[in-house]
Structures are given as C-alpha cells and as structure tokens.
C-alpha cells in the first residue's frame, strides 16, 4: 500500500488502526471470559474481566480524541475520511460489546453457587459465533475485505435463530420448574446480551463494507452484488 | 589583522574604486567645461547669438548654426522616431520569434556601432546623388535619421519588453485585439522608455560633424535655411570652422560656440526628461 507523503499523517493512521485492533482484542477476550466465568462459576475471572473494561473505556476516549485531531489537522478525504469516521463509530460498538460482557460477568458473580437451569449448549454456541463475528469483523477491517464482512453480516441470522430456539427452551423449562424462576429470567437476560453482541458485530461489519466500498449498506436489505465482491 | 578588519578594508577599497570611476571622469569633464566657460563667457551676448559668420572674429555670430541644428534635430526626430518606434513595435509585438527575428536584432545592434562617417557616405550616395535631394536639410536629416534609427529601435524594444506580460494577458482575456492592446496598454506603459530613446537619439545627432560634412553641409553660411530643400550648417561644423582659423579671437568664438552647443543639448534633454518623469508618475511606476 502506498504511503502518504505526509509521514505524520501516516503515523497517526497507523496508531489509530493499532488502537482499534487492541480494543477489539480486549473485547473478544472479555466475551469468552465472561461466559466461561458464568459456566464455571469462576467469580475471580468475572472480577478480572470487569476490571478489563476500564482499559476498553480508556481506549475509546483516546480514539475519539485522536480522530478529532486527525480531522482538524489534516482534513482527510476519500478512503482516509471513511476510515476515520469508521473508527469513531467502531469504538462505540466495541465499547458496548465490552459493557455487555461486564453485564454477563456481574450476573456470574450474582449467581455464584446457585443451581441454574441453563441452555448451556445454545449459550456456548451463541458465544462462539458471536466472538467469531467480532473477530471476523476486525479481520475484515484489517484486510479491507468486504466479502468477509458480508459473511459476518449473514451470520447474524444464525444467531437470531439460536436465540429464538434457546428462548423457547428456557421458557418451557421455566414452566416445568417453577422453583427456579429467577434463574430462568437471568438465563433469558444472558441470551439477550449475547444476541446484542452479535448485533453490534454486524454493525461493525456493515461499517467495514462502507469503508471499503464507499457505499453505505446500513439499514438496507442485503446487497446482492456484494457477495461477489 | 582579523578577518573582520580585513573585510572592512576590502569593502572600503572597493567603494573608493567605484567612487573614483565616477568622480574622476566627471571631474575632468567639469574641469573642461569650466575652462571653456571661462573663455566663452565674455563672448556670449545677443550679438553673438543673432549674427551671421564673418571674416572678422568680433562680428561673427552663430545664428545660422543654431537654426540649422534645431531644424535638423526636429526633422531627424520627425523621421526617425515614427519609423524606429514602428519597427520596434512590429519586431516585438507582431513578428514571429525565430531565427530571422534574432538575426535582425543582432544586425540592428551592429548598426548602432557603425562609424558615423559611413552613414555620411551612404547619405551622400543615396540621398544627395541618387534621390537628387542635393545638399539640403532633408538629405542631412535623412542621413541623421538612419544614424540614430538603430538606437531608437533598440531602446524602444527594451522598453516594450518591460511592459509586464500579465497586463497583456489581462487585455487578451477581455477580448481586445492585438492593436487595441498595443495602442491602449503597451504604448502608454512603454512611453517613458521610448522618450529615453528619443533623448539618446537627439543627443547623438546634435553632436555629429563628419557625416554632415560628407552630405554637404556648409561650413560658412551667411543666410538662414528657408526650407527643407535649403543648404544648412550645424553648430559642431561652425565650431570646427572657427577652431581651424589661426586668429586667437576665433578660438574664443569656438569656445562660445561649444558653450551654446552644450546649453542647447542640455535644454533639449531637460525637456525630454521632465516629460518622461511626468509620464512615469502617471503610469504608477
């Protein structure tokens, strides 16, 4: 890739890219760890993961400031402009994913020691897919790969189907086991949060498509052309 | 000796050298003028200025010479300026730049350096003999015009070149024709320079002796020229005539003549310089 003649701008964009990658990495780990803490009833892991959210928030603030600076000083255009505005929006979605992981961790701490009626298989599968979607979005962003981003967007349907399935599962279990209604409600919350993680990852991928193609596909039906690159 | 002091001495020496290059020649000139003036002053009076030459020194006057010089200058300017400015305009504004144009420019510069007697002989052959103009003011003026033409052309071309290109561009952009641009933008801007050319031409012509003698100017004239076909004489010739006489008194006349010549030249130049300054002020430069 050709470098900008102005090396300071080049450096700033590299730093920005690095921040986004670091933030994404942190958030991916937080998703995995939060669900693991829940499943293994590991309160210590839950607390560590919550602490990690502070780092994520700090990077969000730094990134916002840096984007403002780049726009003010260099008035970027075309792909550079799309990248910087993408970065501003990406950190919002990533930060929200971090918050959702924190929610799951708090739930893990609350529920420690209580027997629970959990659709563990569905939760594990949703977690894997959701984390994969975040990772896929970030990969697509790094490589500028719109096809990969589109495949992430497609996976949102799978997560939605799993969510509905798991929801029904919990509902019917709650009807059978009245004694653990609170547990069931908590289960529904966690399922909802995982589904939200997948939604945010979908947002990330839509932003990546916009950055690469210069075409805004948010709030649109799926573009039949993009699958072919 | 430190480098600073060495440098200061070098600068000072250079300054003194340059100053001398001006002061010494001017000083010599001033000395000569003073010497002439001292001899001339007692001799210049109304009688001297309004009398005709005579074999008696005390009765001799310079009138025909003054009149002849003035007529000649005016006629020369009237011929040389329009032709010279016109030629310069054509070469600078209309002609295609190329090998031919450069060749012409070089040759005009060369012509400016040709000894004036050559022009005199040319004038004798072409104007006096072939065109049959005889030993007249017209023949003399035409010869002088040829002599000063290269100067006028060169100086005019230089001053045309100093008109900034962006002014012409602006005029082109407004949809003016080439002639409209030349007449209304270029010539007014270049006029001070053209006047300079006129000054130089007049200064050259007024001091010429040999070519006019070749063309047939009189050395002893007791009447005034009455037309452009009339015989004539000029100040330098009259001065030369007096200088070649053995009597002491005529040398005094010669000195007076020189003083009158210089005064005439200074007067003409001053008028032209005054005009030029007025115009330069107007064009905002």
């Amino acid at each position: 890739m050709t470098l900008h003649t102005d090396r300071e701008l080049n450096h700033q964009l590299e730093v920005l890219r690095g921040r986004l990658l670091r933030m994404a990495g942190l958030v991916e780990t937080m998703i995995d760890d939060s669900v693991r803490a829940l499943m293994e009833v590991n309160v210590e892991l839950a607390r560590q993961t919550i602490a990690r959210d502070h780092q994520v928030n700090r990077i969000e603030v730094e990134t916002d400031e840096q984007c403002l600076l780049i726009i003010a000083r260099w008035q970027p255009v075309a792909s550079d402009l799309r990248f910087v505005t993408l970065a501003l929006k990406m950190v919002t979605d990533l930060e929200r994913i971090g918050d959702l992981a924190v929610n799951i961790c708090e739930r893990a701490i609350d529920l420690a020691g209580r027997p629970a009626i959990w659709p563990w298989d569905e939760v594990q599968e949703m977690t894997n897919i959701a984390r994969g979607m975040v990772q896929g979005s970030v990969d697509a962003f790094v490589k500028g790969d719109a096809v990969l981003a589109q495949s992430v967007i497609d996976q949102d349907d799978v997560v939605d189907d799993l969510y509905v399935q798991a929801f029904q599962h919990v509902l019917s279990t709650m009807q059978e086991h009245h004694e653990d209604l609170p547990g069931g409600i908590h289960a529904l919350s966690v399922l909802k949060w995982l589904e939200r993680v997948a939604d945010h990852a979908t947002n990330l991928s839509e932003l990546v498509v916009f950055m690469v193609k210069g075409k805004d596909i948010r709030h649109m039906a799926r573009d039949p052309h993009i699958a072919h690159g | 000796m430190s480098t600073v002091t060495r440098r200061k001495i070098a600068e000072r020496s250079f300054f003194i050298l340059c100053a001398s290059a001006i002061v010494i020649p001017l000083g010599v000139l001033a000395l000569l003028l003073w010497d002439v003036g001292r001899d001339a002053a007692p001799r210049i009076d109304v009688q001297f200025l309004t009398s005709f030459p005579s074999r008696k020194a005390a009765l001799a006057g310079i009138l025909p010479a003054i009149v002849g010089s003035l007529y000649l200058i005016v006629l020369t300017a009237a011929i040389a300026l329009p032709i010279g400015v016109g030629a310069a305009l054509y070469l600078e504004e209309y002609a295609k730049k190329g090998r031919l144009s450069s060749l012409i420019e070089i040759n005009i510069a060369n012509l400016a350096g040709v000894p004036s007697i050559i022009y005199g002989l040319l004038g004798l052959g072409v104007f006096v003999r072939v065109l049959g103009l005889g030993r007249s003011l017209l023949a003399g003026a035409l010869t002088m015009a040829l002599l000063v033409l290269p100067i006028v052309v060169m100086v005019t071309r230089e001053s045309l070149r100093t008109v900034p290109g962006h002014l012409r561009e602006a005029a082109w952009g407004l949809g003016a024709t080439r002639w409209q641009i030349v007449r209304q933008i270029v010539l007014p801007q270049a006029f001070p320079g053209i006047l300079t050319g006129a000054i130089l031409a007049v200064s050259r012509a007024i001091g010429e002796t040999a070519p006019l003698v070749a063309v047939g100017a009189l050395t002893y004239m007791t009447f005034l020229p009455d037309g452009i076909d009339a015989p004539f004489t000029v100040l330098p010739i009259q001065i030369f005539n007096w200088v070649s006489r053995p009597q002491e008194a005529f040398l005094v006349n010669a000195a007076a003549g020189i003083a009158v010549l210089m005064a005439t030249m200074l007067l003409l130049n001053s008028v032209a310089i005054y005009l030029r300054n007025r115009l330069q002020h107007q064009t905002g430069r």
Binding site: H4, L9 | W172, G173, L174, G175
Partner: protein, 262 residues
Amino acid sequence: MTAALASQRLPSTKIAVSSVHAWFGSNHVLKDVSLNFPEKSVTAIIGPSGCGKSTLLRSLNRMHELVEGARISGNILLDGKDIYDPGVDPVLLRRRVGMVFQKPNPFPSMTIRENVLSGLKLTGRLEHQSSDDIVRRALRGAALWDEVKDRLHSPGISLSGGQQQRLCIARSLAVRPDVLLMDEPCSALDPIASAKIEDLIHTLSADYTIVIVTHNMQQAARVSNYTAFMLHGELVEFSKTDQLFTAPRDPRTEDYITGKFG
C-alpha cells in the same frame, strides 16, 4: 463515466470538450481530453503541476494559441458551436468567455472606475451614458462596491491584493460574459481574501458558468459542484465534487487527493 451522472437531473452542457489534444512544440500536453462543463455551475480542475489543467482552461477561450508553437486539435463546443471553427473570431469569443488570472493584474495607470470599464473601452464599446450603471453593477457583482464606492477615482493598484482580484473579476463581469474562467485566482492571496473570493464564486455561479483551476484541493472541495482530476495530460476522473472527495472511482484520484503521491 457519464452513465453515473446520467441518473441524476443534470444541468445542460455549456461547453463540450471532445477528444482534445494540445501541444507546445513537440510537447504533448493534453491527451484526448473529453468532458462536458455544466452550465451555471462551478467546475474545478485539479491535478499535480504539469498535468495540463491550465492548458485545458486556456483552450476554452483560445488563449492557448497565443503562445508561440502552440497547437490544438479536437472540438470544443460553446452552446453547441465549435469555437475553433475558422469562421470564429477568437477576440469575440473572449468577450463571451472571460478570464481571471493568478496574479491580480489591474491596469496600473487606471483608476478603479477606469479599470472596471477598461474591457469595454479597450474594445471600443463604451457608451458614456451608461458607464456609471455599468461600474456599479460590475462592482456589486464582484462584492466590491461597498468597499470602494467612495473612492472610484483612486488608482486601481492602491487596493489590497484580495480587493485587486475582485476588481479584476468586476472588470471581467462588466463585459457581460457567459463563462468565467479562473486560473488559480487565490494563489497569491491570504486565507481571508481567498475566503471572500470563494464566497463570491458561490454567488456568481447562479448566473455564470465557472471553471476554476486550483492546486488547493480543499478549495476545490469547498467551492465546486463538479471536479475534474487530470494527470499527465489525461482526464482521469470527472464527477460531482461530493462523490469525488468521499469515494473517488479511480485509484489514481484516490492516491492524489489523500496525498499518497511521490
């Protein structure tokens, strides 16, 4: 290239450039350039030094041919008529297609008033009865009237750089052209004077077709409706300005405007 633009309601074409080549001697400076300049809009031409943008501009009012050794081929149609047709008088053409230059060049020997009228006076079309109206209209059109109305008889060169440039614009407007060509009009001006000229261009574009060559990309982005990017004598891309600066189609345009050259 024009297909993408055809889907929108386009203004009609004022100047149609078709397969134009231009040379300075043996130097091939414009290579098969074709584009349509929309009327009553501002079109910017951008590109690195030596890309041919000034040459293209000057071919639009036949000032290219004033240079020794300049040659041109192809068609340029103004309102459908070829301006290089042998029957067309370039002098008359330049009264319909005016030009403002990089260095403000009011005539130094003239007052402000005389400068405004100089275009008409030069070409022998000045009627004295209406000259006051002409001066007022032109200076108003150039957003200069309020600043100079009390000193119309001061020399043109007594104004500041930005004012002088607006005086030159007024001078061009007085001749009542259809099209105004501007060759880097703000290069010699400070940012505030530039901003005033850019604002003026916005106003003028309602009545005139404007083509502006600029090496300042931000200025092109601010001031134009359409932008053409040229490189090594070729037209690389011509789009609506919004499109070109957010998502250019050609990678060379992308590289140039993001500063990845060199």
